[in-house]
């Protein structure tokens, strides 16, 4: 009888107790993971970090001379910089188009990035994958050659497909398979092998946030193309996010700042101190 009474009391009174506080339910589910990287580039490699619709990203990137020049040359700064500036505009949350200009070989590049897959917070999609085609035009003067460069000779094409995963708030890693093709090559270009037109690579990059807005970054691009003078690209750096700007400072073995030269260009030996200082400044504007 007592048990029955208890059951009756339980049945009729517990809904009141259960209802006491609201159940915390998320309004937003299946959201993509955000800020896998702080900027569209991690040192020099393209990332999966998309722009939102209406965002304009401006960056100015530099690499200086090798630090082996010592204090007299301010560790390479006196040797002048390769500079690339670029603009990229988000036409949608997953699609952006941009252009840039690098002083090394005076290359204008036109590029696009499409976020094919976005890593999801609920784990239903473990990685983000982007596709980034670009076309470059070398505008250096080659009048000293017996046969000058035609417009078509000046073109190079790149396709990169960064695949990244944000493992935690602090750690993100990516691999970036890339193929680059130069319509014409020669000793006059700042590339590793004047006889190889097409270069392949699988770059690796990552960042580890050791403070709320500061991260250690790295990139490693092994030389997998069968070409002479092609060495590994190694870069390590620091990203500092300041709410509006992202400053990226790094040491890298290459002067290159665009995809095609990053993959096909020459590299110093990192362990012989043949690396150079570089930095990028990223700024995001809202246009829409």
């Amino acid at each position: 009888m007592k048990i029955l009474s208890s059951i009756i009391l339980f049945l009729f009174l517990t809904p009141e107790i259960l209802f006491a506080q609201l159940e915390r339910q998320r309004t937003v589910v299946g959201q993509p993971v955000e800020l896998t990287f702080m900027a569209p580039r991690n040192i020099n490699l393209l990332t999966v970090e998309p722009l939102s619709k209406g965002e304009l990203h401006y960056s100015i990137m530099h690499t200086f001379g090798e630090v082996t020049g010592g204090a007299r040359n301010l560790w390479g700064v006196d040797q002048g910089a390769n500079v690339r500036f670029s603009f990229e505009y988000g036409f949608g949350d997953n699609f952006s188009v941009g252009f840039g200009r690098s002083s090394m070989d005076k290359v204008y590049d036109f590029n696009a990035r499409l976020a094919l897959l976005r890593q999801k917070r609920d784990g239903s999609m473990p990685v983000s994958i982007s596709l980034a085609p670009s076309a470059g035009i070398i505008t250096s003067s080659f009048g000293f050659l017996d046969e000058d460069y035609s417009f078509s000779d000046r073109l190079n094409f790149t396709l990169a497909a960064p695949i990244a995963r944000k493992f935690s708030d602090d750690l993100s890693l990516m691999i970036v398979p890339t193929v680059v093709h130069f319509n014409r090559v020669g000793a006059e270009l700042n590339i590793a092998d004047p006889n190889v037109n097409t270069y392949y690579s699988v770059g690796i990059g990552g960042r580890y946030k050791f403070a709320a807005r500061t991260a250690l970054t790295f990139q490693y691009i092994p030389p997998i193309t069968n070409a002479d003078n092609l060495d590994a690209n190694i870069g390590i750096g620091i990203d500092i996010e300041t709410g509006g700007h992202v400053f990226q400072m790094f040491f890298t073995t290459s002067r290159a700042l665009n995809e095609s030269y990053l993959i096909a260009g020459e590299n110093g030996n990192f362990f012989d101190r043949e690396f150079r200082f570089g930095f990028n400044i990223n700024r995001l504007f809202r246009i829409r």
Partner: protein, 185 residues
């Protein structure tokens, strides 16, 4: 006799339990909340229309929460920073308040009435006791609540950038406005 006792118990339970007409619970899922940041050079606010709330006059319980992933400041990059860097919404998705009315409230008086509540406010996983002043107004279709209070980000271990190009104030003014509809059990 045994069964008579049982019947009496059932009758008692039904009598004690308030029915739909007398229940004094009000709920809503689409209330408005804004977090206003007023720094010397920049004022901006994060807003959401997904404030969920319950006022239970019987139990003297006030319970609100909002999924912080629904907050928007008008600049997507700032939203991403807010979610990932400052609020860490993956880990701490909700801002929530659970408390009690300290002042009396007469729901049969159709005028707007000043009320004070005290309770625990939680954001970024850190709980603080706060007192909130607001107004409650009985409406035909429920209860209208407007309230405002301030939150210090530092109190909740939310790290702000010290060197920055958009300033984020430590003191955030939280304003809420919500029409709670009567709930029948």
């Amino acid at each position: 006799m045994k069964y008579l006792n049982l019947l009496l118990l059932c009758a008692m339970v039904f009598l004690i339990k308030p029915d739909a007409a007398t229940a004094q619970k009000f709920m809503a899922e689409e209330g408005y909340v804004e977090f206003v940041s007023r720094a010397p050079l920049l004022e901006f606010k994060g807003t959401s229309n997904h404030l969920t709330g319950l006022i239970d006059l019987d139990e003297n319980l006030i319970d609100f929460f909002v999924d912080l992933n629904t907050l928007e400041t008008g600049i997507r990059r700032r939203d991403r920073d807010m979610r990932s860097t400052y609020l860490k919404t993956d880990q701490f998705p909700f801002a929530e308040f659970t408390g009690q009315l300290l002042t009396g409230f007469d729901k049969d008086n159709p005028e707007e009435q000043q009320v004070v509540t005290r309770g625990m406010f939680t954001i970024h996983g850190v709980e603080r006791e706060i007192e909130v002043e607001g107004t409650l107004e009985p409406r035909q279709n429920g209860l209208k609540l407007n309230a405002s209070f301030t939150v210090l980000l530092e109190d909740h271990n939310i790290d702000r950038p010290r060197v920055l190009f958009y300033e984020l104030a430590d003191e955030q003014v939280v304003n809420i406005s919500i029409l709670l509809e009567p709930v029948t059990n």
